[in-house]
């Protein structure tokens, strides 16, 4: 039996593909829109660079989500693995002249093996003990990198300046006229990101992914069902580190300098925060997480920009408070992350239809005006939907 693709999904995928592939050209293609609100924001050439960062973060945070969200092992030291991947790739490219693809894959494989081995001692730990033990990795990392034994490779605290010591990937000859260097860098990050996302999507729907979830939800129960708990926990560490390694290698292109403190404790904590904000145990959540990670500074800047008399009240010192405050509000209002909020949209729809939804603030005044139209649409769509959950018509059966 062949699976038929609904035309909506095909259209959606085509649109997404066009968005991803065409993004570096949008600022010239849609130049006439650049003055428009909201859309204009995306048409600044700088966004292409940021979108590249988004791709890198997507790979990194997808890996962390596989470990923490799908397998339930909290890691505060994930940045250490990203840093290992970045160093391996940078050293291979600058000192051994390795090809970009070789370097990226080698970084992923090496970090994956390291992660798998770190997973062995992690088996004995859980909860905050595991969290602090992994934190140790990221705290100890700078001194390890700066140590004399390895400083020939890592250049100690000077770090590796990839753009001085190596050659960034350049577009091949035949594409030279159509793709400039920045656009090519964008593709170098976004193509692996898409591949890794599809891999993660498939992984989480496979035997391994289901085993991860089983181990997360009940370790004992999973063991009873014949899931090799130890092996799958180590595998989760290995796979997430593989993602970290690939992501770290991609970082080498986006960060000019790679040093011992490029991936510090701050970044490591922020990664976990973003994965929780995006949505644990969800591919969509990882995508949200990467988007917030890549644009978090811009979001805060936009808010700082609209606050009146910012200079007088020294608003710059309060950037951290705005960022942290948003984070606190987000966690309180959406405990399951952005992906959780999206997942609950159908339920909000149900409550709308039942007339139980309460609109906060100004929207409460607007709602009565659009209500008849909205209800007609929603109810019409609902009666055509065979998978109704509320069981309003199945009332006639005898008790």
């Amino acid at each position: 039996m062949t699976r038929t693709l609904p035309w909506r999904r095909v259209l959606g995928l085509a649109l997404l593909g066009f968005l991803i592939i065409g993004f570096p050209y949008f600022n010239t293609m849609f130049e006439f829109m650049s003055g428009w609100p909201l859309i204009g924001w995306f048409l600044v050439p700088f966004r292409v660079f940021q979108a590249m960062r988004f791709g890198v973060w997507l790979v990194v945070l997808m890996g962390l989500n596989l470990l923490t969200g799908y397998n339930g092992q909290i890691s505060l030291g994930y940045a250490a693995f990203v840093a290992i991947g970045a160093y391996v790739a940078a050293i291979l490219m600058t000192q051994y002249g390795a090809h970009v693809i070789v370097a990226v894959l080698a970084a992923g494989a090496f970090t994956g093996v390291v992660g798998f081995l770190v997973g062995v001692p992690a088996l004995r730990l859980s909860g905050p003990y595991l969290a602090i033990a992994t934190l140790a990795l990221v705290i100890a990392f700078p001194q390890v990198v700066k140590h004399d034994l390895v400083s020939d490779w890592t250049h100690a605290s000077q770090g590796i300046n990839f753009y001085e010591q190596g050659t960034p990937p350049l577009p091949p000859e035949i594409l030279k006229d159509r793709v400039d260097n920045n656009q090519w860098l964008y593709y170098c990050a976004i193509v692996p990101a898409v591949i890794m996302t599809i891999l993660a999507w498939n992984l989480t729907r496979s035997r391994i992914g289901r085993a991860f979830l089983a181990v997360r939800d009940t370790e004992l129960g999973a063991g009873q069902m014949g899931v090799n708990v130890a092996l799958y926990k180590m595998t989760a560490f290995g796979i997430s580190s593989f993602y970290a390694g690939i992501g770290g290698a991609l970082f080498v292109f986006t960060e000019a300098v790679l040093g011992p403190s490029t991936f510090d404790i701050n970044i490591s904590l922020t990664m976990l925060v973003m994965v929780v904000l995006g949505g644990l145990g969800s591919i969509l959540g990882s995508i949200f997480a990467a988007a917030i990670m890549a644009w978090r500074a811009d979001i805060v800047s936009e808010i700082v920009g609209v606050i009146p008399r910012g200079q007088e009240i020294r608003i710059d010192a309060l950037r951290g408070a705005i960022y942290g405050g948003l984070l606190v509000i987000a966690i309180i209002t959406g405990p399951w992350g952005l992906a959780g909020a999206v997942r609950r949209l159908p339920r909000i729809k149900d409550r709308l239809v039942a007339g139980k939804f309460r609109f906060p603030g100004v929207s409460g005044i607007v709602y009565p005006a659009v209500r008849p139209f909205l209800l007609r649409r929603l109810r019409g769509a609902k009666s055509a939907d065979p998978s109704r959950r509320d069981g309003t018509e199945a009332r006639d059966e005898p008790h």
């Binding site: 003990y129 969290a131 140790a136 951290g320 942290g324 984070l327 606190v328 405990p335």
Partner: protein, 293 residues
């Protein structure tokens, strides 16, 4: 040998700052099972509050006022921010304290600026370094160490010989059962945060003369306090003191007797922690938890 004892003494001095903050972390973890990342920043902000009080009052008045302010701040944070996320996923309170960390740091920077402020030590611990046999040690460090011990004893008495301490232990052990025997569990949680914030404030005020009072004063300390708390066992106050002190000593010894040519104190300190956790997965004195399935 004298050199060795001297290094141990210096290690104990740094370790006692870790120990006090670790104690504060353990107090919160025991009652709410939340690892509080904002602990260091709460301590830092309380120390700044003490600093502003010092402009108007004597040392001890400012000391007490700052502790009260810290306790109110800690209790309010639990009540207003932590309570709503208690029911959700386990990671959420931790993420919230990370957010709080950023907020408090930024607010302190906004209120007090980035320059380090001078902060005096408590009157008995001012003046020249002490000469005890083979060891020379500064009075401020002796002060931190002694206070850590005193705070520990007070908390021990509070938890073991008072009714409210019993109620707090009961809440930590089993919240539902505590509610059933008539303990106001919510109030105990708030009290736990208030107490922990107060201990943190003491840690901050003792550490400030040694570290210099600035908004980044606690950034490094808090990580070692975590490590110390985990080393000793997150559920044990005695373990927190023990863990913090031994971490300070290990770190200092690894820095002194380093056979290689570049610093390795951090990797060594954390290798020790991981080694200990391998043998005792819940720390030196931590209780083994039996999980219900």
């Amino acid at each position: 040998m004298a050199e060795f004892i001297q290094q141990v003494a210096i290690g104990l001095a740094t370790g006692s700052i870790y120990a006090l903050l670790a104690l504060a972390i353990v107090l919160i973890y025991r009652s709410t099972e939340v690892v509080n990342f904002a602990q260091g920043e709460m301590a830092m902000l309380s120390t700044f509050i003490a600093w502003s009080f010092l402009n108007q009052f004597g040392y001890w008045q400012a000391f007490v006022l700052a502790i009260i302010a810290a306790a109110v701040l800690g209790g309010a944070l639990e009540r207003v921010l932590l309570r709503p996320v208690e029911e959700g996923p386990v990671l959420n309170p931790v993420i919230l304290t990370i957010g709080l960390f950023t907020v408090l740091n930024s607010v302190a920077l906004w209120l007090y600026g980035g320059d380090p402020k001078p902060f005096v030590a408590a009157p008995p611990f001012r003046g020249s370094a002490l000469d005890v046999g083979p060891v020379v040690i500064s009075r401020a460090n002796v002060g931190v160490f002694c206070t850590a011990v005193v705070v520990m004893i007070i908390l021990y008495a509070l938890f073991n010989y008072t009714k409210i301490g019993l109620a707090m232990r009961g809440t930590a052990l089993n919240r539902t059962a505590a509610r059933l025997v008539g303990i106001r569990a919510g109030r105990m949680l708030t009290l736990g945060w208030a107490l922990s914030a107060a201990v943190g404030a003491i840690a901050g005020m003792l550490a400030a003369p040694v570290l210099a009072l600035s908004t980044n004063m606690m950034l490094a300390v808090i990580l070692f306090a975590f490590a110390g708390a985990v080393l000793g066992g997150l559920t044990s106050p005695v373990g927190a003191i023990l863990g913090g002190l031994s971490l300070g000593v290990i770190q200092n010894l690894a820095a002194t007797y380093n056979p290689t040519s570049s610093p390795i104190d951090l990797p060594v300190a954390f290798l020790v922690i991981i080694a200990v956790l391998m043998i005792r997965p819940t720390g030196l004195l931590g209780k083994r938890t039996v999980r219900r399935v």
